[in-house]
Symmetry: C2
Subunit: 188 residues, 2 copies
DNA sequence: TTAAATTTATACAATTCAGTATAGAAAATA
DNA sequence: TATTTTCTATACTGAATTGTATAAATTTAA
């Protein structure tokens, strides 16, 4: 609950996105956060620990934000999955969007044994599982399959938008998602 | 045409993929390549120049490989675009696949003004343009739109496969691609 | 006010980084 | 064989890297 600890987490999140994780030194982080290395290492055992916490918090915040918006938008499962891409679009096209954290982290830590890579893969899986639960509640037979397809469109759009702002990728992803959702076989 | 120059390019390509670009030092590259820094800096002005050449060569090799395979598979445009995902699958599921270079490079160089990021974005655009030409020749009305959707599925699959080998993402991407291609409006 | 906890300031170690200087060895060419 | 080009070996610079040690200053709590 320390204010300094949260400030460090926030600044690190920002710098990791704008400059890359491996290109951001702890000296830069503490300088921008207005503190010192001694304080950073009091709250985080190592830079890797800081990276892992940044990823974890970002993932939790994103999932919570998405879940709240979907639950607020509708109570009917069949409608919720239709709204999924709308909220993704809202996020991706917002001015402060700078890419999906677990995609970028896995690129910077390609070794599958790396804790950062492992956590990234875990978050990607949880995201798919979440979409699959939406699809299942909406009565889709192969909910895992549709969820995987939608996640490809969504993560592809995030990647495209991160590479070039205003790519418009999400617009076409929405059209493709609608076709896939509408043509997906239902349970009964 | 120097053998050493090509060896350096090959080793750098390999290390960039397996350890990441920013995590790979020129000392490591020359050690693995069995040469010295003096030789590396004779052929490449800087590490950034080496990165750019690695990206460029990888992009050209990939495009040439894909184009040759598609031309060999069929002479009918309508069939070629159907085969696109098959060859992507072949590459993505091959044991030495380690991710799409321009996706990973753009993550490590997030600054849009960075030459590495710019070249990555250029390659992504050229890839989409190539798919669009296939779609156009196949008689698709909105060839750019379908190409964008297919590229999202393809790049999403590459990302998924890079994160976790044997993800099976490409299988579902193929199913989604087939639906999108089959339902896409034709010119006449 | 006194005591305890937090934070800062600084200096440091040990390593790694990109890139260069110099000189000699090896290889190709004439 | 003589000459030129290529490559190696090695040492170096100067900056940046993560992480720690030590002591002083500041803030919080009693």
């Amino acid at each position: 609950m320390s204010a300094l600890r949260e400030k460090i987490l926030h600044v690190a999140t920002d710098l990791f996105h704008s400059r890359g994780i491996n290109s951001t030194g702890v000296d830069t982080i503490v300088a921008v956060a207005g503190t010192t290395k001694m304080t950073l290492y009091k709250y985080f055992r190592s830079k890797e620990d800081l990276i892992l916490e940044v990823l974890q918090k970002g993932h939790e915040d994103f999932q919570a934000w998405l879940n709240e918006n979907l639950n607020r938008s509708s109570k009917h499962p069949a409608e919720k999955i239709q709204k999924l891409l709308d909220f993704i679009e809202e996020w991706v096209t917002s001015p402060d969007f700078r890419g999906m954290a677990f995609i970028k982290a896995s690129a910077e830590f390609p070794n599958e044994e790396s804790p950062v890579h492992k956590l990234s893969a875990e978050h990607a899986k949880e995201f798919r599982t979440y979409i699959a639960s939406l699809a299942s509640e909406a009565g889709i037979s192969d909910s895992d399959g549709l969820a995987l397809q939608l996640s490809l469109l969504i993560e592809g759009s995030m990647q495209a938008e991160q590479m070039k702002r205003g790519s418009g990728a999400i617009k076409y992803a929405k059209k493709a998602a609608k076709i896939l959702i509408d043509t997906a076989p239902r349970k009964h």
